[in-house]
Symmetry: C2
Subunit: 178 residues, 2 copies
DNA sequence: CGATATATAGACCAATTGGTCCATATATTG
DNA sequence: CAATATATGGACCAATTGGTCTATATATCG
Protein backbone atom coordinates (compact mmCIF):
# COMPACT_ATOMS: atom_id res chain seq x y z
CA UNK A 1 0.00 0.00 0.00
CA UNK A 2 2.72 2.41 1.04
CA UNK A 3 4.56 2.39 -2.23
CA UNK A 4 1.41 3.12 -4.24
CA UNK A 5 0.58 5.80 -1.72
CA UNK A 6 3.93 7.52 -2.13
CA UNK A 7 4.26 7.26 -5.88
CA UNK A 8 0.87 6.68 -7.48
CA UNK A 9 -0.29 3.83 -9.66
CA UNK A 10 1.49 4.45 -12.95
CA UNK A 11 4.73 5.59 -11.36
CA UNK A 12 5.01 2.42 -9.31
CA UNK A 13 6.87 -0.27 -11.23
CA UNK A 14 7.14 -3.96 -10.50
CA UNK A 15 10.61 -3.71 -8.93
CA UNK A 16 9.22 -1.17 -6.44
CA UNK A 17 6.48 -3.60 -5.55
CA UNK A 18 8.93 -6.49 -5.16
CA UNK A 19 11.13 -4.47 -2.87
CA UNK A 20 8.14 -3.32 -0.82
CA UNK A 21 6.55 -6.75 -0.48
CA UNK A 22 9.85 -8.62 -0.19
CA UNK A 23 8.37 -11.13 -2.59
CA UNK A 24 9.79 -12.47 -5.80
CA UNK A 25 8.00 -11.90 -9.07
CA UNK A 26 6.60 -15.40 -9.11
CA UNK A 27 5.27 -15.27 -5.57
CA UNK A 28 3.74 -11.85 -6.06
CA UNK A 29 1.85 -12.92 -9.16
CA UNK A 30 0.75 -16.16 -7.46
CA UNK A 31 -0.55 -14.19 -4.50
CA UNK A 32 -2.22 -11.22 -6.18
CA UNK A 33 -2.77 -11.98 -9.85
CA UNK A 34 -1.49 -8.76 -11.34
CA UNK A 35 -0.47 -5.22 -10.63
CA UNK A 36 -3.98 -3.88 -10.95
CA UNK A 37 -5.47 -6.38 -8.51
CA UNK A 38 -2.71 -5.66 -6.05
CA UNK A 39 -3.40 -1.98 -6.35
CA UNK A 40 -7.09 -2.52 -5.74
CA UNK A 41 -6.19 -4.51 -2.66
CA UNK A 42 -4.03 -1.65 -1.40
CA UNK A 43 -6.75 0.87 -2.14
CA UNK A 44 -9.31 -1.22 -0.28
CA UNK A 45 -7.10 -1.34 2.74
CA UNK A 46 -6.60 2.41 2.65
CA UNK A 47 -10.36 2.88 2.42
CA UNK A 48 -10.99 0.43 5.24
CA UNK A 49 -8.58 2.33 7.46
CA UNK A 50 -10.32 5.59 6.64
CA UNK A 51 -13.73 4.11 7.43
CA UNK A 52 -12.51 2.75 10.74
CA UNK A 53 -11.20 6.15 11.74
CA UNK A 54 -14.46 7.74 10.69
CA UNK A 55 -16.53 5.23 12.66
CA UNK A 56 -14.51 6.03 15.70
CA UNK A 57 -14.43 9.81 15.43
CA UNK A 58 -18.00 10.24 14.31
CA UNK A 59 -19.40 7.59 16.64
CA UNK A 60 -23.10 8.42 17.31
CA UNK A 61 -22.60 7.83 21.03
CA UNK A 62 -20.09 10.61 21.14
CA UNK A 63 -20.88 14.29 21.31
CA UNK A 64 -21.37 15.24 17.65
CA UNK A 65 -19.48 18.51 17.86
CA UNK A 66 -16.53 16.85 19.58
CA UNK A 67 -16.66 14.18 16.93
CA UNK A 68 -16.56 16.66 14.08
CA UNK A 69 -13.74 18.48 15.76
CA UNK A 70 -11.75 15.26 16.11
CA UNK A 71 -12.53 14.35 12.52
CA UNK A 72 -11.23 17.68 11.29
CA UNK A 73 -8.16 17.45 13.52
CA UNK A 74 -7.29 14.12 11.92
CA UNK A 75 -7.39 15.64 8.46
CA UNK A 76 -5.33 18.60 9.60
CA UNK A 77 -2.71 16.26 10.99
CA UNK A 78 -2.54 14.32 7.74
CA UNK A 79 -2.50 17.51 5.68
CA UNK A 80 0.52 19.34 6.98
CA UNK A 81 4.27 19.06 6.73
CA UNK A 82 5.68 15.77 5.47
CA UNK A 83 2.38 13.93 5.93
CA UNK A 84 0.77 16.49 3.71
CA UNK A 85 3.43 16.35 1.07
CA UNK A 86 2.92 12.63 0.80
CA UNK A 87 -0.67 13.24 -0.16
CA UNK A 88 -3.72 11.05 0.03
CA UNK A 89 -3.96 7.77 -1.83
CA UNK A 90 -7.67 8.23 -2.38
CA UNK A 91 -7.47 11.72 -3.81
CA UNK A 92 -4.46 10.86 -5.95
CA UNK A 93 -6.15 7.74 -7.25
CA UNK A 94 -9.38 9.58 -7.91
CA UNK A 95 -7.54 12.14 -10.03
CA UNK A 96 -5.28 9.61 -11.76
CA UNK A 97 -7.65 6.74 -12.44
CA UNK A 98 -11.26 7.32 -11.43
CA UNK A 99 -12.17 8.53 -14.90
CA UNK A 100 -10.73 5.62 -16.86
CA UNK A 101 -10.88 2.76 -14.38
CA UNK A 102 -14.40 1.66 -13.46
CA UNK A 103 -13.29 -0.45 -10.48
CA UNK A 104 -11.57 2.55 -8.99
CA UNK A 105 -14.39 4.89 -9.89
CA UNK A 106 -16.90 2.73 -8.06
CA UNK A 107 -14.77 2.57 -4.94
CA UNK A 108 -14.22 6.29 -4.89
CA UNK A 109 -17.89 7.12 -5.45
CA UNK A 110 -18.98 4.69 -2.77
CA UNK A 111 -16.49 5.99 -0.21
CA UNK A 112 -17.51 9.52 -0.99
CA UNK A 113 -21.16 8.66 -0.47
CA UNK A 114 -20.66 7.04 2.92
CA UNK A 115 -18.39 9.86 4.00
CA UNK A 116 -21.09 12.34 3.13
CA UNK A 117 -23.73 10.31 4.97
CA UNK A 118 -21.68 10.07 8.16
CA UNK A 119 -20.77 13.72 8.27
CA UNK A 120 -24.36 14.73 7.50
CA UNK A 121 -25.50 12.49 10.33
CA UNK A 122 -23.07 14.15 12.72
CA UNK A 123 -24.39 17.58 11.75
CA UNK A 124 -27.92 16.28 12.16
CA UNK A 125 -27.18 15.16 15.67
CA UNK A 126 -25.56 18.49 16.38
CA UNK A 127 -28.75 20.12 15.24
CA UNK A 128 -30.94 18.04 17.56
CA UNK A 129 -28.83 19.10 20.52
CA UNK A 130 -29.15 22.70 19.40
CA UNK A 131 -25.54 23.26 18.48
CA UNK A 132 -26.06 24.19 14.83
CA UNK A 133 -25.81 27.86 13.91
CA UNK A 134 -28.91 29.54 12.52
CA UNK A 135 -29.75 28.76 8.93
CA UNK A 136 -27.39 25.81 8.62
CA UNK A 137 -28.77 22.71 7.00
CA UNK A 138 -26.97 19.47 7.97
CA UNK A 139 -26.74 17.89 4.54
CA UNK A 140 -25.55 21.09 2.94
CA UNK A 141 -23.00 21.68 5.68
CA UNK A 142 -21.77 18.11 5.20
CA UNK A 143 -21.19 18.62 1.49
CA UNK A 144 -19.30 21.82 2.17
CA UNK A 145 -17.16 20.25 4.84
CA UNK A 146 -16.28 17.31 2.63
CA UNK A 147 -15.19 19.48 -0.25
CA UNK A 148 -13.13 21.45 2.20
CA UNK A 149 -11.46 18.32 3.51
CA UNK A 150 -10.61 16.91 0.09
CA UNK A 151 -9.27 20.35 -0.78
CA UNK A 152 -7.13 20.37 2.32
CA UNK A 153 -5.40 17.27 1.01
CA UNK A 154 -4.67 18.98 -2.27
CA UNK A 155 -3.35 22.12 -0.64
CA UNK A 156 -1.35 19.82 1.64
CA UNK A 157 1.03 19.23 -1.27
CA UNK A 158 2.55 22.60 -0.43
CA UNK A 159 3.27 21.23 3.06
CA UNK A 160 1.62 24.05 5.02
CA UNK A 161 2.13 24.59 8.74
CA UNK A 162 -0.14 22.68 11.07
CA UNK A 163 -1.20 25.84 12.87
CA UNK A 164 -2.45 27.44 9.68
CA UNK A 165 -4.46 24.44 8.57
CA UNK A 166 -5.86 23.95 12.05
CA UNK A 167 -6.92 27.58 12.28
CA UNK A 168 -8.60 27.38 8.88
CA UNK A 169 -10.48 24.23 9.83
CA UNK A 170 -11.55 25.80 13.13
CA UNK A 171 -12.75 28.90 11.34
CA UNK A 172 -14.89 26.83 8.99
CA UNK A 173 -16.45 24.78 11.74
CA UNK A 174 -17.14 27.96 13.69
CA UNK A 175 -19.39 29.08 10.84
CA UNK A 176 -21.62 26.05 11.39
CA UNK A 177 -21.56 25.46 15.12
CA UNK A 178 -22.71 27.66 17.94
CA UNK B 1 -2.33 20.31 -23.23
CA UNK B 2 -5.58 18.46 -23.72
CA UNK B 3 -4.10 15.01 -23.82
CA UNK B 4 -2.17 15.55 -20.59
CA UNK B 5 -5.31 16.99 -19.09
CA UNK B 6 -7.40 13.96 -19.95
CA UNK B 7 -4.91 11.27 -19.04
CA UNK B 8 -2.27 12.63 -16.70
CA UNK B 9 1.47 12.77 -17.11
CA UNK B 10 2.57 9.17 -16.74
CA UNK B 11 -0.40 7.75 -18.61
CA UNK B 12 0.31 9.90 -21.65
CA UNK B 13 2.71 8.14 -24.01
CA UNK B 14 4.64 9.57 -26.93
CA UNK B 15 2.21 8.24 -29.56
CA UNK B 16 -0.61 10.10 -27.79
CA UNK B 17 1.41 13.28 -27.98
CA UNK B 18 2.25 12.76 -31.65
CA UNK B 19 -1.41 12.22 -32.50
CA UNK B 20 -2.43 15.29 -30.51
CA UNK B 21 0.22 17.61 -31.90
CA UNK B 22 0.14 16.12 -35.41
CA UNK B 23 3.89 16.26 -35.30
CA UNK B 24 6.35 13.52 -36.01
CA UNK B 25 8.76 12.34 -33.35
CA UNK B 26 11.63 14.30 -34.81
CA UNK B 27 9.73 17.55 -35.06
CA UNK B 28 8.29 17.23 -31.60
CA UNK B 29 11.69 16.72 -30.01
CA UNK B 30 13.14 19.56 -32.06
CA UNK B 31 10.35 21.87 -30.93
CA UNK B 32 10.04 20.98 -27.25
CA UNK B 33 13.11 19.08 -26.14
CA UNK B 34 11.48 16.23 -24.29
CA UNK B 35 8.25 14.97 -22.80
CA UNK B 36 8.82 16.71 -19.50
CA UNK B 37 9.43 20.12 -21.07
CA UNK B 38 6.37 19.72 -23.23
CA UNK B 39 4.35 18.87 -20.18
CA UNK B 40 5.63 21.92 -18.35
CA UNK B 41 4.61 24.01 -21.34
CA UNK B 42 1.12 22.55 -21.25
CA UNK B 43 0.89 23.12 -17.52
CA UNK B 44 1.99 26.72 -17.89
CA UNK B 45 -0.70 27.32 -20.44
CA UNK B 46 -3.31 25.80 -18.20
CA UNK B 47 -2.14 28.02 -15.35
CA UNK B 48 -2.13 31.10 -17.56
CA UNK B 49 -5.71 30.42 -18.59
CA UNK B 50 -6.73 30.04 -14.96
CA UNK B 51 -5.02 33.31 -14.03
CA UNK B 52 -6.73 35.16 -16.86
CA UNK B 53 -10.11 33.95 -15.75
CA UNK B 54 -9.33 34.93 -12.20
CA UNK B 55 -8.20 38.39 -13.22
CA UNK B 56 -11.44 38.87 -15.02
CA UNK B 57 -13.81 37.50 -12.41
CA UNK B 58 -12.09 39.00 -9.41
CA UNK B 59 -11.33 42.33 -11.09
CA UNK B 60 -11.00 44.99 -8.35
CA UNK B 61 -13.22 47.36 -10.34
CA UNK B 62 -16.05 44.92 -10.11
CA UNK B 63 -18.33 44.44 -7.15
CA UNK B 64 -16.40 42.00 -4.96
CA UNK B 65 -19.42 39.90 -4.03
CA UNK B 66 -20.48 39.58 -7.66
CA UNK B 67 -16.92 38.68 -8.49
CA UNK B 68 -16.74 35.94 -5.90
CA UNK B 69 -20.07 34.63 -7.06
CA UNK B 70 -18.87 34.51 -10.67
CA UNK B 71 -15.64 32.89 -9.57
CA UNK B 72 -17.53 30.17 -7.74
CA UNK B 73 -19.93 29.70 -10.64
CA UNK B 74 -16.99 29.04 -12.94
CA UNK B 75 -15.69 26.30 -10.68
CA UNK B 76 -19.15 24.79 -10.38
CA UNK B 77 -19.44 24.70 -14.15
CA UNK B 78 -16.09 22.96 -14.48
CA UNK B 79 -16.88 20.57 -11.64
CA UNK B 80 -20.05 18.88 -12.79
CA UNK B 81 -21.04 16.30 -15.35
CA UNK B 82 -18.54 15.48 -18.08
CA UNK B 83 -16.41 18.55 -17.35
CA UNK B 84 -16.11 17.36 -13.79
CA UNK B 85 -15.24 13.82 -14.72
CA UNK B 86 -12.39 15.08 -16.83
CA UNK B 87 -10.89 16.65 -13.77
CA UNK B 88 -8.44 19.48 -13.31
CA UNK B 89 -4.95 19.38 -14.76
CA UNK B 90 -3.56 21.35 -11.84
CA UNK B 91 -5.05 19.19 -9.11
CA UNK B 92 -4.16 15.98 -10.93
CA UNK B 93 -0.61 17.18 -11.50
CA UNK B 94 -0.27 18.33 -7.92
CA UNK B 95 -1.25 14.90 -6.66
CA UNK B 96 0.75 12.98 -9.24
CA UNK B 97 3.96 14.97 -9.43
CA UNK B 98 4.21 17.90 -7.04
CA UNK B 99 5.98 15.78 -4.45
CA UNK B 100 8.69 14.37 -6.69
CA UNK B 101 9.06 17.03 -9.38
CA UNK B 102 10.44 20.34 -8.15
CA UNK B 103 9.54 22.25 -11.32
CA UNK B 104 5.94 21.19 -10.92
CA UNK B 105 5.97 21.76 -7.18
CA UNK B 106 7.12 25.34 -7.63
CA UNK B 107 4.42 26.08 -10.17
CA UNK B 108 1.71 24.63 -8.04
CA UNK B 109 2.83 26.45 -4.90
CA UNK B 110 3.10 29.72 -6.76
CA UNK B 111 -0.32 29.42 -8.36
CA UNK B 112 -1.80 28.50 -5.04
CA UNK B 113 -0.26 31.55 -3.41
CA UNK B 114 -1.56 34.02 -5.97
CA UNK B 115 -4.98 32.37 -5.92
CA UNK B 116 -5.09 32.85 -2.17
CA UNK B 117 -4.00 36.45 -2.45
CA UNK B 118 -6.64 37.33 -5.05
CA UNK B 119 -9.49 35.71 -3.17
CA UNK B 120 -8.38 37.26 0.09
CA UNK B 121 -8.31 40.62 -1.64
CA UNK B 122 -11.85 40.11 -2.89
CA UNK B 123 -13.03 39.29 0.61
CA UNK B 124 -11.18 42.34 1.89
CA UNK B 125 -12.98 44.57 -0.54
CA UNK B 126 -16.26 42.94 0.43
CA UNK B 127 -15.45 43.83 4.01
CA UNK B 128 -14.79 47.48 3.24
CA UNK B 129 -18.19 47.78 1.58
CA UNK B 130 -19.78 46.15 4.59
CA UNK B 131 -20.82 42.94 2.94
CA UNK B 132 -18.87 40.53 5.13
CA UNK B 133 -20.82 38.62 7.79
CA UNK B 134 -19.91 39.24 11.43
CA UNK B 135 -16.76 37.59 12.65
CA UNK B 136 -15.43 36.71 9.21
CA UNK B 137 -11.81 37.46 8.56
CA UNK B 138 -10.92 37.90 4.86
CA UNK B 139 -7.70 35.89 4.80
CA UNK B 140 -9.23 33.04 6.73
CA UNK B 141 -12.33 33.02 4.54
CA UNK B 142 -10.07 32.94 1.48
CA UNK B 143 -8.20 29.89 2.72
CA UNK B 144 -11.47 28.12 3.42
CA UNK B 145 -12.91 28.97 0.04
CA UNK B 146 -9.82 27.78 -1.77
CA UNK B 147 -9.79 24.43 -0.02
CA UNK B 148 -13.44 24.12 -0.86
CA UNK B 149 -12.81 24.85 -4.53
CA UNK B 150 -9.95 22.37 -4.86
CA UNK B 151 -12.14 19.84 -3.11
CA UNK B 152 -14.95 20.51 -5.56
CA UNK B 153 -12.65 19.40 -8.33
CA UNK B 154 -11.92 16.17 -6.54
CA UNK B 155 -15.55 15.45 -5.81
CA UNK B 156 -16.21 16.36 -9.44
CA UNK B 157 -14.76 12.98 -10.42
CA UNK B 158 -18.11 11.52 -9.38
CA UNK B 159 -19.73 13.80 -11.97
CA UNK B 160 -22.29 15.40 -9.64
CA UNK B 161 -25.28 17.40 -10.88
CA UNK B 162 -24.71 21.08 -11.49
CA UNK B 163 -27.63 22.07 -9.25
CA UNK B 164 -26.16 20.24 -6.27
CA UNK B 165 -22.70 21.75 -6.64
CA UNK B 166 -24.14 25.19 -7.23
CA UNK B 167 -26.34 24.95 -4.16
CA UNK B 168 -23.39 23.84 -2.06
CA UNK B 169 -21.24 26.69 -3.28
CA UNK B 170 -24.04 29.16 -2.63
CA UNK B 171 -24.52 27.82 0.86
CA UNK B 172 -20.85 28.28 1.64
CA UNK B 173 -20.70 31.81 0.35
CA UNK B 174 -23.86 32.62 2.30
CA UNK B 175 -21.95 31.87 5.49
CA UNK B 176 -19.48 34.64 4.69
CA UNK B 177 -21.52 37.29 2.99
CA UNK B 178 -24.42 39.35 4.26
C1' DC C 1 13.67 -40.81 6.33
C1' DG C 2 11.51 -40.29 1.84
C1' DA C 3 7.79 -38.58 -1.00
C1' DT C 4 5.14 -34.97 -2.16
C1' DA C 5 3.40 -30.43 -2.17
C1' DT C 6 4.57 -25.48 -2.02
C1' DA C 7 7.19 -21.42 -2.33
C1' DT C 8 11.02 -19.05 -4.24
C1' DA C 9 14.35 -16.90 -7.25
C1' DG C 10 15.37 -15.18 -11.29
C1' DA C 11 15.97 -16.22 -16.38
C1' DC C 12 13.22 -15.01 -19.94
C1' DC C 13 9.61 -12.75 -22.98
C1' DA C 14 7.01 -9.53 -26.03
C1' DA C 15 5.47 -4.98 -25.95
C1' DT C 16 6.09 -0.39 -24.86
C1' DT C 17 8.69 3.36 -22.93
C1' DG C 18 11.14 7.88 -24.00
C1' DG C 19 14.63 9.37 -27.14
C1' DT C 20 18.12 9.64 -31.37
C1' DC C 21 19.34 9.86 -36.06
C1' DC C 22 19.37 10.19 -40.87
C1' DA C 23 17.68 10.11 -45.58
C1' DT C 24 14.43 12.64 -47.97
C1' DA C 25 11.16 16.22 -48.88
C1' DT C 26 10.12 21.01 -48.85
C1' DA C 27 11.06 25.82 -48.52
C1' DT C 28 13.99 29.68 -48.97
C1' DT C 29 17.10 32.46 -51.21
C1' DG C 30 20.79 33.95 -54.46
C1' DC D 1 17.00 27.45 -61.84
C1' DA D 2 20.44 25.93 -58.51
C1' DA D 3 22.15 25.87 -53.86
C1' DT D 4 21.35 25.80 -49.37
C1' DA D 5 18.84 25.68 -45.20
C1' DT D 6 14.96 23.61 -42.70
C1' DA D 7 11.32 20.47 -41.59
C1' DT D 8 9.53 15.90 -41.76
C1' DG D 9 8.77 11.04 -41.39
C1' DG D 10 9.91 6.98 -39.58
C1' DA D 11 13.59 3.45 -38.92
C1' DC D 12 16.05 2.47 -35.10
C1' DC D 13 17.79 2.14 -30.16
C1' DA D 14 18.53 0.85 -25.24
C1' DA D 15 15.99 0.56 -21.20
C1' DT D 16 11.98 -0.54 -18.91
C1' DT D 17 7.27 -2.13 -18.70
C1' DG D 18 4.06 -5.87 -16.90
C1' DG D 19 3.91 -10.78 -17.02
C1' DT D 20 5.30 -16.06 -17.60
C1' DC D 21 7.77 -20.16 -16.63
C1' DT D 22 10.85 -23.47 -14.81
C1' DA D 23 14.52 -25.36 -12.01
C1' DT D 24 15.49 -25.51 -7.33
C1' DA D 25 14.99 -25.00 -2.58
C1' DT D 26 12.05 -25.58 1.46
C1' DA D 27 8.31 -27.36 4.05
C1' DT D 28 4.93 -30.75 5.08
C1' DC D 29 3.47 -35.08 6.12
C1' DG D 30 3.04 -40.29 5.89
Amino acid sequence: MNVFWSRGYHATALPDLLRATKLSRGSLYAAFGDKHSLFLRALDRYIADALTRMDDELDPRRDPVDGLRAYLAGYVERACGANGRRGCLLVATAMELAGADAEVGRRFASFFKTMEARVADAFSRAETVGRLADGVEPSSAARILICFLWGLRVVAKTAPARTTSQATADALLARFIK
